[in-house]
């Protein structure tokens, strides 16, 4: 169908035409083009701030991917992004707009910290699995708060899950400024350090930790669930067409709650992994918005677990590169701007999956 048309040049016609199927080429090129557009638009803003965009981007790329320490740091930051990104992708797959990964991640970190602080002397083989379990359960329960009203009353999960983020973040703030503050921390908002048993082991003397294996295993498990199990079959059908799902006798309510809880569990696991391996204590502001970046990752990856891993590395590189350019005076908010721009161009570019832009020479009558 013709949506809009504009006279561009008397000899040409430009118009949008609806397309029946999106081609694989389009599906692949839209994320790529949106990243290129981000570099162009972001470069313009960086130039307007008085920096040389080429130098900045080059520096970001080099420091994130081309040096050993940079690559290790990119990998470290990618781990929670993969886990939270998988969680968001799973929910998005069923058209559940879980914007609450950040909150679920905080609650996961809270519960894992609680276990680590409560069991300071337990051996690793007890405390680590308990922390993982506690993190996942806490994330799942936090996600069930928007899921249950959504399933039974149709309450919009975008708003509830988003608002619960602030609740979770302030809850952590309360704990680390209040009852859980380490008296020896000289007033810093941090808890006591965890025991060595509560820390995920690192690979060699890098900061890359075994959370990477957990993340990759989670991606594989999610892929198998989505494409090779009957539960995945239900998730995909419900995401495509609630009418067909009802018709086929699928329980939509139960799936809304289960999928949202698994989504929250993955985000909670991201929180546990980050807090256990990197910080080894609960502290305020431990997440530079992993849960929000996860939304961009899931969208760029088109909800596919494999792509989530790849895109997580990319977004992590952006974070690491952005931090490293701070020494040149680049404001840290630049990274957030670039992230936002990617999502913006991606959502804008998605129109091309449904419509094609045609430019035709006008026929002379």
């Amino acid at each position: 169908m013709l949506v809009a048309q504009k006279k561009f040049n008397p000899g040409y016609r430009i118009r949008w035409e609806k397309r029946l199927v999106s081609t694989p080429l389009i599906n692949f090129s839209i994320p790529v083009i949106s990243i290129i557009m981000t570099l162009l638009a972001g470069g313009a803003v960086i130039a307007a701030m008085g920096f040389d965009p080429i130098f900045i981007f080059q520096g970001m790329f080099t420091s994130a991917f081309l040096s050993f320490t940079g690559l290790m740091e990119t990998t470290v930051k990618a781990i929670p992004l993969i886990l939270a990104g998988l969680g968001v992708a799973l929910a998005f797959k069923m058209l559940l707009w879980n914007i609450g990964a950040e909150g679920q991640l905080h609650m996961g970190a809270f519960a894992a910290s609680g276990v680590a602080l409560a069991l300071p002397d337990a051996p690793a083989y007890i405390v680590l699995p308990t922390m993982i379990l506690a993190g996942m359960v806490a994330g799942a329960l936090w996600a069930s708060l928007p899921a249950i009203p959504k399933a039974y009353l149709g309450v919009n999960e975008i708003i509830t899950s988003l608002l619960l983020n602030y609740v979770a973040i302030f809850w952590i703030d309360y704990l680390v400024f209040g009852p859980w503050r380490d008296p020896a921390a000289l007033g810093f908002p941090i808890t006591k350090a965890f025991g060595q048993a509560a820390r995920l082991p690192m690979f060699g003397d890098t900061r890359v930790h075994t959370g990477l294996l957990i993340a990759i295993a989670a991606a594989i498990a999610l892929y198998i669930i989505l494409y090779h199990s009957k539960w995945g079959c239900e998730i995909r059908v419900i995401g495509e067409s609630q009418g067909a799902a009802r018709y086929a006798g699928m329980n939509i309510r139960r799936n809304i709650i289960l999928v949202m809880m698994l989504s929250g569990a993955l985000a909670g696991l991201a929180g546990m992994v980050e807090i256990s391996a990197i910080h080894a204590r609960l502290q305020a502001g431990f997440s530079p918005g992993f849960g929000y970046t996860a939304i961009i990752i899931a969208s760029l990856a088109r909800m596919h677990p494999g792509w989530v891993i790849l895109v997580s590395f990319l977004m992590s590189g952006l974070l690491v590169g952005g931090f490293s350019m701070q020494i040149h005076g680049l404001p840290v908010a630049t990274v957030q701007m670039l992230q936002g721009a990617i999502l913006f161009f991606l959502l804008g570019g998605n129109i091309l999956t449904r419509y094609r832009l045609t430019i035709r020479r006008k026929k002379v009558a």
């Binding site: 013709l2 067409s241 018709y247 086929a248 094609r356």
Partner: protein, 517 residues
Amino acid sequence: MSQETFLVMRNITKMFPGIVANDQVEFLAHAGEIHALLGENGAGKSTLMNILTGLYRPDEGEVYIQGQLVNFHSPREAVDAGIGMVHQNFRLVESLTVTGNITLGAKNEGFWWRPRIAAKKVAALSKEYGMDVDPEAKVWQLSVGEQQRVEIMKMLYRGAQILILDEPTAVLTPQEVKELFSSLRKLADSGKTVIFITHKLHEVMAFADRITVLRGGRSIAVIKKEETDIKELAHLMVGKEISHLVNKTAADPGEIILRLEAVSALNDKGLPALHEVSFSIREGEILGFAGVAGNGQRELSEVITGLRSVSSGKIFVNEKDATSANARQIIDAGVGHIPEDRKGMGLVSNMTVIDNTILKSYRSPEVCPGFFLNHRKIRQHAQHLVDTFDIQTCSLDSPVKLMSGGNLQRLLLAREISANPKIIVAVYPVRGLDVAATEEIHQMLVEQRNNGAGILLISEDLDEIFKLADRIAVLYEGRIMSILPIENADLDRIGLMMAGIDGKEVAANGASSAKEV
């Protein structure tokens, strides 16, 4: 009645990605005539009329009105040029009055809304063309036929000289159809051009002056009604002889397989939609439900298939109480369902042929023995269905939205039939299908009946009901007016019952078994 050529569409070509919807179509209409635009689904009728009304722009070709070349950039311009279209789905604001709807957005209204003057104008208009409708009534209070009149008057109010109606009779009872065309005749006699899009041959023969036949995007013929007959038109429309596959033998009903006892249910708005509906279906028979759409058909199919709960009454499947069973339990009890909305409900348009074949069976032990789906078996089964039911698809892995309506319906029926259902609930099973596909789908249903399935067929097409059903029930405002064996049913009687005139009075001279349940 003047016979000047009022409208000329010359050499119209319109391409959509992958198909040529109109291929150098010629279309001429005179002032003062009722002109039928006849063709199967996909013949290009709607595209042609959408070009005329400014919704699409042609890739090639010209449109002349009264000899003037026109070039519409928007529907608004077409309305200003005197072209009005009544769409199949009415575009009315239900909460406004008739007058409000008719005058809404019309250009000849001033800035101020003066309801009394507007109501007077509307009343005058309704009198002039014999279209009886209360200008003060709210649209939601009106019957479908009355709403259609409002749509027509809306166009006349805007000064339409050419009135186009897209399948205007699809939602009407036979009596309402007669009224509609007597109004349209008055319009034509006053010098307006009436064009109606249809694929129903008997309507064309009864009401049109001239007929333009479209087939495969081309204009095939322009004929005067007096110079043709149904057979020739059918031949022109389809392009080949229609082979009648359906070969129905007398019913051999077995045990009662589906029984409803005084079932009442609400519609989506929470208003009563079914009132104490009782009937039963036996193995090996087709019970046809006639009725104008919106009289409880959807709710009836949904209470049986477990998609809607009953407010009172009982449902028995195979003599087991299934009143409060959910959709899944009903499927497991052997009820197949061919829903009204095949793309939004019966199939998942964005998913592949393979995925669609396991829409219901994905949880069965054969398809999914443990946690994992058996992809090899699923593919074999899908291939088997595609081969057996002659489904045209480019690949098993392409999304079903690329398939034609006929192939979609074949796939849907193939999936339902392959589950060996004891009961099939078929809702408008051939809506929008071409003649050949319709025949095939009918044949499939009759085969299932001959194999012992009990079939509940809901249709608004009486020809279809008379062709397939062993007994006919008529639904009106959620009540069963009467259930007649096919031998005792005739078109007029069913038509009256569809309009709410009591079946018992009508049937008094006929069937003693009219109330047989």
